[in-house]
């Protein structure tokens, strides 16, 4: 059976500012490009799917796991199959890049440490591993999250503006890896980007 993410009747607002009023959509394995103007709710949609926010109404379903507005927080099984690569730097600036990689990957089951190392090195983080995140450049902070995104064995990958602040070599590694993942078909990848991502896009959602 094909891997499918289902969003059903999503309702969410920040105070009185309504972003989603009964939004429903489906995404299959591969890359889905989430588009829209600033403030239309692209990042909020990823936050909701990650469990960082809880919807007022509606539900998400993926591979037999369900997360709905009735849950106080995203169920552990849902979080185990999801990784949210936020557009901000990691909120643990006191950790070194290596510690951040170790801490986050340690929360997931079945992580292959060699893959974390492989992607960290491919993204050019080798010399920065002992650098505290607060002293790392924006690009290095973003690469830390991207190394995790590419290494963790999750079914749902939420990438918020992943190409921001990346150097050419790292952007190429990200593009190639995402293209390979899209071809394999074992992962639903939601990607927000203001510029066209140079990866095979299976579907496009236009919000707002």
């Amino acid at each position: 059976m094909e891997l499918t993410l289902r969003i059903d009747q999503l309702v969410f607002a920040y105070g009185q500012r309504w972003l989603f009023e009964g939004f429903s959509a489906q995404a299959g394995a591969g890359v889905t490009w989430v588009q829209g103007a600033n403030g239309c709710g692209k990042s909020t949609l990823l936050r909701l799917l990650a469990g960082a926010l809880v919807p007022r109404h509606g539900s998400f379903e993926l591979a037999g796991q369900r997360f709905s507005a009735d849950d106080r927080s995203a169920p552990l099984a849902w979080r185990q199959q999801t990784f949210w690569c936020l557009s901000d730097p990691p909120p643990t600036p006191w950790l070194t890049i290596a510690e951040c990689l170790g801490f986050v990957s340690g929360t997931y089951a079945g992580v292959d440490a060699a893959r974390v190392r492989e992607h960290a090195l491919a993204l050019g983080l080798e010399k920065a591993l002992a650098t505290p995140l607060r002293e790392a450049s924006l690009g290095q902070q973003r690469k830390t999250l991207l190394a995790l995104a590419l290494a963790l064995p999750v079914r749902l990958l939420l990438l918020d503006e992943p190409f921001n602040a990346l150097d050419v070599a790292s952007a190429r590694h990200l593009t190639e890896t995402l293209a390979a993942r899209a071809a394999q078909g074992g992962q639903v990848i939601l990607l927000t980007s203001h510029v066209e991502p140079h990866v095979p896009v299976r579907d496009t959602w236009l919000l707002g």
């Binding site: 936050r47 990650a50 960082a52 927080s73 909120p91 950790l95 510690e99 340690g106």
Partner: protein, 361 residues
């Protein structure tokens, strides 16, 4: 002297003072209700603010220097306590990038320090006015050196305050240049820090919890010293209830301060942690960490009481339970609810003082 930097720094100082006033204003009705008479009585003491530096010139030189220095340092403490708010890290970094001379930066620090210590200058003037009106014999004899000593004390406090701000500027620069030890990637990536270390312990030494941890260590050392003075009783002139009160105020205030720091730390991490497949155990750990100083200080007092004085089980148990219940009560209410928190602060301090006094009755 740079003419544009000082107004900008003073505007920031005004914002910080307004923030402080707003937080004090919400708590004022409860403070006045609970400790109104003490508060009103303490107003009469304001005229005594300038006495130590003036009296210092009449004392033997060692005692005089000690009293004078102590007052100057204590008066500069607000600048040290507020240095991170008056000069946030982003400001320090920005100031380093602007074409400003070291002299201009120093002058702006001095200006901020002088503005913050202006109310103290007012109190000193009030002291001089009161003593000029009453002209007690010691004061008349000490003139005019008493006035010179008073003015020098304020200027020294001002200079110390400016140094605290300069330290904040320099500290940020030093941290930015720190270089990490080189290690092999394999060794670095082999680490799997747990929640307690990554989210609660390391931030205490390297991150957002540093001010809370520093306050915790200083508070614990002070609480231990108070506990020793209380139990050993080398100053019989100070009654046991006064020691109990000082100890209670210190530990409850320390817990409250740590809670505020911890809440802002937890709020910053919460969305990210909600998305990771990790247990919520770190939140319980954060609460336990807030309670830890009080538990440790309480244990020290109880152990000292059991070792040094005749003791009875009931007051001892009541005091111990209250030392555990207080942080639990405080952390049950968010610190942003200032009125509830100040109410809890007053009630728990009163109860701890009463139960603490019973230990030696």
């Amino acid at each position: 002297m740079n003419t544009t930097l000082i107004p900008v720094r003073l505007e920031r100082t005004r914002e910080v003072l307004l923030e402080l006033l707003r937080s004090v204003r919400s708590a004022l009705p409860i403070v006045m209700g609970v400790a109104g008479p003490i508060f009103v009585a303490s107003l009469a003491l304001l005229a005594w603010a300038g006495v130590p530096p003036m009296k210092a010139v009449t004392l033997p030189w060692r005692s005089g220097v000690a009293v004078w220095t102590l007052q100057a340092v204590i008066a500069a403490w607000p600048l040290w306590a507020l240095r991170r708010r008056l000069l946030p890290e982003a400001w320090c970094v920005q100031l380093r990038c602007l074409p400003l001379t070291a002299r201009a930066l120093w002058w702006s620090d001095v200006a901020v320090s002088a503005v913050l210590l202006a109310p103290l200058a007012g109190l000193y003037l009030l002291s001089v006015a009161v003593f000029a009106f009453k002209h007690p014999a010691w004061w008349v004899r000490a003139m005019p050196w008493a006035l010179v000593s008073l003015a020098a004390s304020w200027c020294t406090s001002c200079a110390l305050g400016a140094a605290a701000l300069a330290w904040q500027r320099r500290g940020v620069a030093v941290r930015a240049h720190r270089v990490a030890r080189a290690q092999a990637p394999e060794a670095l990536l082999a680490r799997r820090p747990g929640q307690a270390a990554a989210l609660l312990w390391w931030p205490g030494w390297r991150g957002t919890l540093v001010p809370g941890f520093v306050a915790m260590i200083v508070g614990l050392v002070s609480a231990s010293a108070l506990a020793l003075a209380w139990t050993l009783g080398p100053w019989p002139v100070v009654p046991g209830a006064a020691w109990a009160f000082m100890f209670s105020v210190l530990v409850v205030t320390l817990t409250e301060r740590l809670q505020r720091t911890m809440e802002s730390h937890v709020d910053g991490l919460a969305p990210w942690m909600a998305a990771l497949p990790a247990s919520a155990g770190w939140r319980g750990g954060a609460r336990a960490m807030v309670a830890a100083p009080m538990a440790v200080a309480g244990a020290i007092v109880l152990l000292l009481a059991m070792a040094l004085r005749p003791w009875r089980v009931l007051p001892l148990a009541a005091f111990g339970v209250m030392m555990l219940a207080t942080p639990w009560l405080l952390t049950s209410v968010r610190s942003s609810n200032r009125q509830a928190h100040v109410g809890l602060w007053a009630v728990t301090t009163g109860l701890l003082t009463a139960l603490g006094s019973e230990l030696w009755n």
